[in-house]
C-alpha cells in the first residue's frame, strides 16, 4: 500500500514540474496597451473602426439621402422590397452601421481614459492624447449625424444631439491638448469637427469662428487599404465576401445622374454599365447600373473633415444672417476651384440673388461637395428639423425622402435585444423603417 500512496504524490510532483503557466502569442492582453509604445496602435485602432463605420454609413446613408439608389442585385440581408426603399435589415440589421461606429467611439474614449490614467499630468501635452480626443469627438459626430438616437455604453436612448454635445466637449479638449503638443493637424481636425457639430447644434456664430480657423487646404480622411476596403468601391465589384452587397446601388434616377451628365463635376463622377442589367422591380424591367467613380480603388479614402467643408459652414452661417453675397462668394469659391472632366474648365458658378435661391445653391453645393461621405443624410435631417428642407431633389418620386424613411440609421436589433434600457420590440411607431411601411410613390 505504500506504493499506492506514493503514486499520487509522485504524479503530482511530475505534473507540477511540467507547469501550467502558458503564454500564448496572438491576442494582446489589455494591460499591454498601457505601454506608451502601444499608443500609436491604439489611435490606428480607432481609425480602423472609424473607417469601417464611415464607409458603411456612407454606403447605406447614401441611399437614404438619395445620393444613390438601390438597384437590387444582392444585399447582405435582404433585397429591398421596392426600388429605393430600405428595410430595417438593410439599414440596421448588419453590424457595421451601429457597432463599428460605437466601437470607434468607445475605443477612442477608452483610450483617452487610459492615457489620462497612465500619463497623469503629461496627458495635457501628449500628442496621442490629443489625437484620441479628436477621434473621440469625430466618432461622436459620425454617430450624432447618422444615428436616429444616441445610446451611450448600454444606457437609455437619448436624442442624437447628445453625441454632438459630447463631440463638442471632446473637441474642445482636443484642441487644447493638440495645441499644447504642437500638433497642428490634429488641432485643425478638432476645430473642423467642432465647427460641424456646432453648426448642427445651432451654435452658428461659434461654428463660423471654428471654421474660419481651418485652412481650405486642410483634409482629414478615413484611410482604407486592400484589406480594409472602401465598401462603396468594393460594392462595384462582384461580391467577394458573404457580407457585402454588390452592384446594389445606382446613380440612376438621383439628382446626381443628370448633374454629372451636364457638368462633368469630378466630385460626382459616375460611369455606366448596361450589361448586365441589375434587378427588376415592379414597373422597372431593368435598372441601369450607373456606378460612382468618386472612389476608384479599395484604398480610396473618405473625407471626414476638410477646409472646403469649412468654407461651406461659413457660407451657411452667412446665409442664416441673410448675407447672400458673402455666402455665394464662399460657395462659388469652392465650386469654381473644381475643373469639369468634360472640358477642363472651372465649373460654372451658381447664381442667386435672393435668400431662397442662395439656400438652394448652398444645399446643392454642399450635397455635391460631400457626396458619398456619410454627411448628406445628417444635413437633410437638420435642415428638415429647422424647416429649411430644400427643393433640391426635384426629379421623380425620390424627392419625397422624408416620407419614405427617417433620415437616420435606427438603433439595431442587436442593441435592442441586449440593452436592458431599451424596448426589445422592433416596432417603433415613430420610425417607418421599423414597421416596413412603404409610402406610395
Amino acid at each position: 500500500m505504500k506504493t499506492i500512496k506514493g503514486i499520487p504524490v509522485a504524479t503530482a510532483l511530475v505534473l507540477a514540474a511540467c507547469g501550467f503557466d502558458v503564454t500564448n502569442p496572438g491576442p494582446v492582453p489589455d494591460e499591454v496597451l498601457d505601454d506608451p509604445g502601444a499608443y500609436a496602435s491604439i489611435v490606428r485602432g480607432v481609425q480602423f473602426n472609424l473607417s469601417r463605420a464611415v464607409s458603411i454609413d456612407a454606403y447605406y446613408g447614401a441611399v437614404a439621402a438619395k445620393e444613390y439608389s438601390t438597384s437590387g442585385r444582392v444585399i447582405a440581408t435582404k433585397l429591398p422590397l421596392a426600388f429605393g426603399q430600405l428595410t430595417v435589415d438593410d439599414m440596421a440589421g448588419g453590424a457595421g452601421t451601429w457597432n463599428w461606429s460605437h466601437s470607434a467611439r468607445w475605443q477612442a474614449e477608452n483610450g483617452v481614459e487610459r492615457l489620462r490614467r497612465v500619463l497623469g499630468a503629461d496627458f495635457a501635452t501628449n500628442r496621442f492624447a490629443g489625437q484620441l480626443l479628436m477621434y473621440a469627438a469625430l466618432s461622436n459626430r459620425v454617430l450624432g449625424e447618422n444615428m436616429c438616437e444616441a445610446v451611450i455604453d448600454g444606457g437609455p436612448a437619448q436624442p442624437n444631439t447628445v453625441h454632438l454635445t459630447r463631440a463638442e466637449t471632446l473637441a474642445t479638449e482636443a484642441i487644447d491638448v493638440a495645441t499644447a503638443a504642437n500638433d497642428v493637424a490634429t488641432a485643425n481636425a478638432a476645430r473642423a469637427v467642432r465647427a460641424s457639430v456646432r453648426l448642427y447644434l445651432g451654435k452658428f456664430a461659434e461654428a463660423a469662428i471654428d471654421a474660419a480657423a481651418v485652412p481650405t487646404s486642410f483634409v482629414l480622411s478615413a484611410p482604407f487599404d486592400e484589406q480594409l476596403r472602401n465598401i462603396i468601391v468594393e460594392s462595384n465589384d462582384f461580391m467577394l465576401s458573404g457580407s457585402t452587397g454588390f452592384r446594389a446601388h445606382t446613380v440612376w434616377r438621383t439628382f446626381f445622374e443628370n448633374y454629372y451628365r451636364t457638368t462633368g463635376d469630378p466630385r460626382t463622377q459616375w460611369d455606366s454599365l448596361t450589361s448586365p442589367a441589375t434587378a427588376r422591380f415592379g414597373e422597372f424591367t431593368n435598372i441601369l447600373w450607373d456606378f460612382q467613380r468618386k472612389y476608384t480603388a479599395y484604398g480610396s479614402a473618405i473625407r471626414l473633415a476638410s477646409g472646403r467643408e469649412m468654407r461651406l459652414v461659413e457660407a451657411e452661417v452667412a446665409l442664416r444672417n441673410n448675407d447672400v453675397t458673402t455666402a455665394m462668394t464662399l460657395i462659388n469659391g469652392i465650386r469654381t476651384a473644381v475643373n469639369s472632366r468634360f472640358n477642363g474648365q472651372p465649373l460654372q458658378p451658381w447664381t442667386a440673388s435672393t435668400v431662397p435661391e442662395a439656400w438652394d445653391a448652398l444645399k446643392r453645393e454642399r450635397s455635391i461637395e460631400l457626396w458619398l461621405e456619410a454627411r448628406t443624410m445628417g444635413d437633410l435631417r437638420r435642415w428638415i428639423a429647422d424647416g429649411t428642407y430644400p427643393s433640391m431633389f426635384t426629379i421623380g418620386p425620390e424627392n419625397d425622402v422624408a416620407n419614405r424613411i427617417r433620415l437616420c440609421l435606427p438603433i439595431t436589433r442587436g442593441e435592442r435585444q441586449t440593452n436592458p434600457n431599451l424596448s426589445r420590440t422592433p416596432n417603433d411607431p415613430t420610425n417607418p423603417i421599423f414597421d416596413g411601411s412603404v409610402a406610395p410613390w
Binding site: D30, L33, S51, W106, T418
Partner: protein
C-alpha cells in the same frame, strides 16, 4: 569444472528431446459455429496440462508436445462459449482437431477499458458502454463515421453532404454544450486525438479527424455517452468519449489480406417534388400537371413552376468511379505480435472538379518480453489530398451560381458562362501522424501499472486560386492557409487488487493525465497574378498582410477510483478526477469531477432461474466538464495590420471574463443488460438525465458599450433526458440459415433551464436546446392572405431529433452468404432553410421549395401579399404561408420544415467465393449499396435533413439547410482475399 559438471548441461538439454520424441501434435482451426468465420486470438489448451496457444488470424492453431492418448482440447475466448472436444493424440503424429464456437450475446467477463481506470470486466461496470466490433460488421466500410452510424443507440451522425472532403458531426445524447464543441472526446489506442476537425478557411465543409483512421485497421470502438461514464476523463469529456482500438495482430501464421473496393457514386433527386402541395396534404388537384424540367426552359416559360429535381445542377452532376485498395499483414508469436496495413483510396466526386486521394499506413506491435511486462506500440500516418468545386452558398460556389441564376454573381442564365466558375481551384492536403506507446507492468500479483505516451500531429494546407483572367476577378487571386494542431499526452494509472475478505475484493486505482495541445495557423493571400499558369502567393503583385495565430492549452488532472466487488456479482465503484486547464489562468480553475456507479449481476443469484438468461442491473452518476478556449477568460485586443493607417491597429477582441470556468455536466444513468430466451434476445436499456450547469453562452453586450464581440459566460443551465434501448433478436437460428434483427430506440429531450443574461435566438428557457423559432402565421394553411402572429417569435421544435429508431436485419444463408440491411428513422426535429427566401425574393425561378405553388400562381405574376401585384386569378388556391414565403416579398422566417426522415442507409450482400483461388485461403465478395432510399416527412418541401449541418462543419452546433447537395448514394463491389 569437473567432467560431470560439463556433462550435466548436455544431459539436461537432451532430456526434453527425449520427451518430445514421445509426444504428438494437435493442429486445427477454430471457427464460428454460425457462418464458419475464423476466430482469432482464441485460447487453446489441453485440459490439465500447461499447454496453451492462441489461434492466428485465420483461426488456425498448433499445439506441440502433447502427450499421447486421449486428451481434452479446450478453447475459450471472450464473447464465445467455451468449447471442448476430445482428441486422440498419437506419438510423432499430427492430429487434426477443428473446433466450432458459439457466440455469447452478453459477455459479462469481456474486458472493457473506456471509462474505467485500467481495465475492467463488463460485469463490474455500472454505466453503459457500447462496443462496436468491426468483425461483426459487413465490409467494406468507407469511413469511420459510416462504421459508427446507427451502431449504438443514442449516437446521431448525419449523412452530410456531397462536398468533397467534408466530415460529419457526431452527437451522443444530444448537445452537451450550446456554445462549445459537442463532439465527443476521441482516443486512438489510448492517445488523445488532437481535435475533432481540420480547421477550414473555406466557406464550406470541414474534414473530420477520425476520417484519418482507416476502418480496415480498427478492431473495435468503445463508446461511453455522458458524464455518468466519462467523469474520469474530466474537463472536455461532457460530450462523451469514443475510444478506437486498432488491430494488434494475432500470433500464429502470418496472414496477408488484400482487399479492393470498386464503386460508383451518384446523387438522388433532392429538389422540387412534383405533384405535392401544402403542408402534409397531398392534393393533386391543386398541383397542376407535371411540368418540364426548368433546365430545359429559359425566360418566361421557366417562371411557371417547372420541375427541378436536381436544382438545375443536372449538367454538372457526375457519377464518379471510386476505388480502394488495402493490404494488411498480421502474425507473430506469443511474445511478439504485429499488424501492419496500407490503404490507398480515391476517385472523383459529384461535381466536375471534385477528386481525392488518400493514403493510410499503420504499423502496430505488441511485445511481451516477460510475463509481467507488455509493450504496445501503434503508429499511423495518413495523407488526404482533395480538390473540390467551388461549393455551397458562397459566391464562388457553382451551386450558388446555378440556383440563383440569372441574378447570380455572373449575372447569367447561360450555362456556358456558369462553366467559368470551374476555373476556380480549391485544394486541401491533410497530413496526420499518430504515435502511441503503452507500457504495462504487473510487478506483483493483482497490481498493474500502465503508462501511455502519445503524440498526435494534424496538419492541413488549403489553397485557392482565382486564376489570371478569372471571371469575377480578372487580375487573379491566390491564397494559402497552413494550420496545424498537435498534442502530446501522457496517461498513467496504477491499480492494485486487494482481497478484503473471502468474498469481498477491492481494486484501488490512481493516476494522472497531462495533455499539451498547440495550434498554429498562417494565412497568406495575394492579389494580381502575373499571368496564366501556376503561381505561389509570392507571385502576386499585392500581398495582403499574413494572418498568424498560435495558441497552446494544457490540461491535466489526477484521478482516484475504488472498485468493491462482493461475491463477484455486487460491484460498487467510486472515483474522482481533479482537473486543471490553462485556459483559466494561473489558478487553473481546478475542478473536481466525482463519479459513482453500481452494478449487480442478478442472474448470478441462486434464486435466478437458469432458463431466464443473464441480466446485469446498473446505475451510474458522474460529472464531467467542457472547457472554453485559451483566450476566452481574458480581455484582449487584436493587432491588425492597417496599411491604410500606417501600421498596426489594436482592435477590441475578447471583452474578458475573469470568472470564466468550465461547463459542468452531471448525469444519472440507470439501466440493465440482459440476454434472455435462451440467449436469443439481447437487450441493453438505459435511462439517463443530464444537466449541464454553468453552461457557457456567448453573452452579447450592447454594441453601444463599444466591443461588439460576445463574451462567454457561465450563465446557463440545460438538461437532456432520454432512454436508449438496443435489442438483438435471433429470430431464426439454424446451422445453415439464420435471421437476426438488431434494433434500437433512442430518445433525447432537451430543455433550457436558465439563460442568465444571455440573449441567444435559439436558446430559450423552457424550450429545447436549441429550438427552431421564428415569426409564425396565424392562418398558415388557410387559403387567404397571411396574418402574422404578434411580434414574439414562435416555436417550432427542437433542432435535434427526439426519436431515433434503427433496424438492421441480417439473414444468414447457406454457404456463408449474408444479407444485411440498415435503416434509420429520425423524428421530432425541425430545421431551418437558410437561403430559400433569397431565391423567392429575386426570382425569376423562385425557390424549388415552392415549385408546386408556382404551377398555380407563377412567380412572375404575383409579388406577395405586400408586393406591388397582390392579386392573381388562382390566388385562392394558394395557402397563406406560401403567399408569404414564395414570392417577391418572401419572409425567410417561414422556411421551417419538419426534419423527420426514414432512410435505408445500407444493403450489403456478402458471400465467399465458392472456389478457392490458388495460393489463397479464402475470398469474400461483397456487394454494397448505401444511401439508397430516403423518405421525408410529407410536410417537408425542402431537401434531405440528413444533409443539414451548419456549414457542413464537424463541430456545428445546429443543423440547417444551406445550398448543398446531399450525400450521394454509392454502390460498391468488394473482394477480400486472405492468403
Amino acid at each position: 569444472m569437473t567432467k560431470t559438471g560439463l556433462l550435466m548441461p548436455v544431459l539436461l538439454a537432451a532430456a526434453p528431446l527425449a520427451t518430445w520424441a514421445q509426444t504428438g501434435t494437435v493442429a486445427g482451426r477454430v471457427r464460428n459455429e454460425r457462418g464458419g468465420a475464423p476466430i482469432a486470438a482464441a485460447q487453446v489448451t489441453i485440459a490439465g496440462l500447461n499447454l496453451t496457444t492462441l489461434t492466428g488470424a485465420d483461426g488456425s492453431f498448433t499445439l506441440a508436445r502433447v502427450p499421447p492418448g486421449r486428451q481434452e482440447l479446450r478453447v475459450s475466448r471472450i464473447g464465445y462459449r467455451v468449447a471442448t472436444t476430445p482428441v486422440d493424440v498419437l506419438a510423432d503424429q499430427t492430429v487434426q482437431a477443428n473446433v466450432e464456437m458459439g457466440e455469447v450475446p452478453l459477455a459479462l467477463d469481456e474486458i472493457v477499458v473506456t471509462g474505467t481506470v485500467g481495465q475492467a470486466r463488463r460485469r463490474e461496470v455500472g454505466n453503459e458502454i457500447a462496443q462496436i466490433k468491426t468483425a461483426d460488421i459487413a465490409q467494406p466500410v468507407p469511413t469511420l463515421e459510416a462504421l459508427l452510424q446507427d451502431r449504438t443507440a443514442g449516437i446521431v451522425i448525419p449523412a452530410g453532404t456531397a462536398e468533397m472532403g467534408s466530415g460529419q458531426a457526431i452527437r451522443l445524447r444530444g448537445n452537451a454544450s450550446l456554445s462549445l464543441v459537442s463532439y465527443p472526446l476521441v482516443y486512438i489506442d489510448g492517445v488523445r486525438q488532437t481535435g475533432s476537425g481540420y480547421r477550414s478557411t473555406r466557406s464550406g465543409g470541414q474534414t473530420s479527424m477520425i476520417s484519418d483512421i482507416d476502418p480496415a485497421t480498427i478492431d473495435r470502438v468503445e463508446i461511453i455517452k455522458g458524464p455518468a461514464a466519462t467523469a474520469l476523463y474530466g474537463t472536455e469529456a461532457a460530450a462523451g468519449v469514443m475510444q478506437i482500438f486498432t488491430k494488434r495482430g494475432t500470433s500464429g501464421r502470418t496472414v496477408w489480406t488484400f482487399q479492393t473496393d470498386q464503386g460508383v457514386r451518384w446523387v438522388q433527386a433532392w429538389g422540387s417534388k412534383p405533384g405535392r402541395y401544402a403542408e402534409g396534404l397531398l392534393d393533386s388537384t391543386l398541383s397542376g400537371t407535371a411540368t418540364q424540367p426548368c433546365i430545359a426552359l429559359h425566360g418566361a416559360a421557366a417562371h411557371s413552376g417547372c420541375h427541378r429535381p436536381y436544382h438545375d445542377m443536372d449538367p454538372y452532376l457526375r457519377q464518379p468511379h471510386r476505388e480502394r485498395y488495402t493490404i494488411s499483414v498480421t502474425g507473430g508469436s506469443d511474445q511478439v505480435r504485429f499488424f501492419s496495413s496500407a490503404t490507398g483510396d480515391g476517385g472523383g466526386g459529384i461535381l466536375p472538379n471534385d477528386r481525392d486521394l488518400r493514403y493510410q499506413v499503420r504499423g502496430n506491435m505488441s511485445v511481451q518480453p516477460s510475463s509481467k511486462v507488455t509493450l504496445d506500440v501503434s503508429s499511423a500516418y495518413s495523407r488526404y489530398r482533395f480538390d473540390l468545386t467551388g461549393y455551397n452558398n458562397t459566391l464562388e460556389g457553382l451551386y450558388f451560381q446555378v440556383v440563383r441564376r440569372p441574378l447570380n454573381t455572373l449575372a447569367s442564365d447561360n450555362y456556358a458562362v456558369l462553366d467559368s466558375m470551374l476555373q476556380l481551384q480549391n485544394g486541401q492536403v491533410n497530413d496526420r501522424m499518430i504515435l502511441g506507446v503503452t507500457a504495462t507492468w504487473a510487478p506483483l500479483r493483482g497490481m498493474s501499472h500502465r503508462l501511455t505516451v502519445g503524440y498526435d500531429d494534424a496538419r492541413t494546407e488549403q489553397t485557392f486560386v482565382r486564376p489570371y483572367n478569372f471571371i469575377i476577378e480578372r487580375q487573379g487571386r491566390i491564397g494559402l492557409t497552413e494550420w496545424s494542431s498537435h498534442s502530446l499526452s501522457a496517461d498513467y494509472v496504477v491499480s492494485q487488487q486487494l482481497s478484503l475478505s473471502g468474498s469481498l475484493n477491492a481494486t484501488v486505482s490512481a493516476g494522472g493525465q497531462l495533455v499539451r495541445r498547440e495550434e498554429q495557423q498562417v494565412t497568406l493571400e495575394g492579389v494580381g497574378l502575373p499571368g496564366p499558369g501556376d503561381h505561389t502567393v509570392s507571385s502576386a503583385s499585392t500581398q495582403l498582410a499574413p494572418d498568424v495565430r498560435d495558441q497552446r492549452v494544457i490540461t491535466g488532472g489526477f484521478l482516484l477510483q475504488s472498485l468493491f466487488a462482493l461475491r463477484d456479482r455486487y460491484f460498487l465503484t467510486a472515483g474522482v478526477r481533479v482537473d486543471g486547464n490553462s485556459a483559466f489562468g494561473r489558478d487553473l480553475g481546478l475542478q473536481a469531477y466525482p463519479k459513482g456507479s453500481a452494478s449487480y449481476v442478478i442472474s448470478d443469484e441462486p434464486f435466478w432461474p437458469e432458463g431466464l438468461g443473464t441480466m446485469k442491473l446498473r446505475a451510474a452518476y458522474g460529472w464531467a466538464g467542457r472547457a472554453p478556449g485559451a483566450f476566452d477568460a481574458i480581455r484582449t485586443w487584436t493587432p491588425q495590420l492597417f496599411a491604410g493607417g500606417g501600421g498596426t491597429a489594436m482592435i477590441p477582441r475578447n471583452p474578458g471574463n475573469p470568472l470564466l470556468g468550465p461547463e459542468r455536466s452531471q448525469e444519472m444513468e440507470v439501466g440493465f443488460d440482459a440476454s434472455v430466451l435462451k440467449e436469443r434476445l439481447t437487450a441493453d436499456f438505459s435511462w439517463y438525465t443530464r444537466v449541464t450547469n454553468n453552461a457557457l453562452f456567448n453573452v452579447t453586450r450592447p454594441p453601444s458599450m463599444g466591443n461588439p464581440n460576445a463574451q462567454l459566460e457561465n450563465v446557463g443551465r440545460f438538461e437532456n433526458k432520454g432512454i436508449e434501448l438496443s435489442l438483438i433478436g435471433r429470430i431464426v437460428e439454424q446451422r445453415e440459415f439464420g435471421i437476426e434483427v438488431a434494433a434500437s430506440l433512442a430518445t433525447n429531450f432537451s430543455k433550457v433551464l436558465q439563460v442568465g443574461t444571455a440573449t441567444v435566438n435559439a436558446i430559450v428557457v423552457g424550450q429545447p436546446a436549441p429550438v427552431v423559432r421564428s415569426r409564425k402565421l396565424k392562418n398558415a394553411f388557410k387559403f387567404e392572405d397571411p396574418q402574422f402572429e404578434d411580434d414574439t417569435l414562435g416555436f417550432y421544435g427542437p433542432n435535434l431529433p427526439t426519436y431515433v429508431v434503427t433496424v438492421s436485419p441480417t439473414i444468414h444463408f447457406p454457404r456463408n452468404v449474408t444479407l444485411t440491411a440498415r435503416g434509420e428513422y429520425q423524428g421530432g426535429a425541425w430545421i431551418s432553410q437558410a437561403a430559400a427566401n433569397f431565391l423567392a425574393q429575386r426570382g425569376p425561378y423562385g425557390t424549388p421549395s415552392c415549385d408546386e405553388v408556382y404551377r398555380i400562381v407563377p412567380w412572375s405574376e404575383y409579388d406577395g401579399p405586400t408586393g406591388t401585384r397582390r392579386t392573381h386569378p388562382n390566388l385562392g388556391r394558394v395557402r397563406a404561408v406560401d403567399r408569404a414565403r414564395c414570392y417577391r416579398t418572401s419572409d425567410g422566417d417561414l422556411f421551417k420544415w419538419p426534419a423527420d426522415f426514414l432512410k435505408l442507409r445500407e444493403v450489403t450482400l456478402q458471400a465467399p467465393l465458392p472456389f478457392q483461388l490458388k495460393g489463397t485461403q479464402s475470398t469474400i465478395v461483397t456487394l454494397s449499396v448505401r444511401n439508397i432510399l430516403t423518405l421525408l416527412d410529407p410536410r417537408n418541401r425542402s431537401q434531405d435533413p440528413d444533409a443539414g449541418a451548419t456549414g457542413n462543419t464537424v463541430e456545428g452546433l445546429t443543423f440547417q439547410f444551406l445550398d448543398a447537395i446531399p450525400a450521394p448514394a454509392e454502390f460498391t463491389v468488394s473482394f477480400r482475399t486472405t492468403f
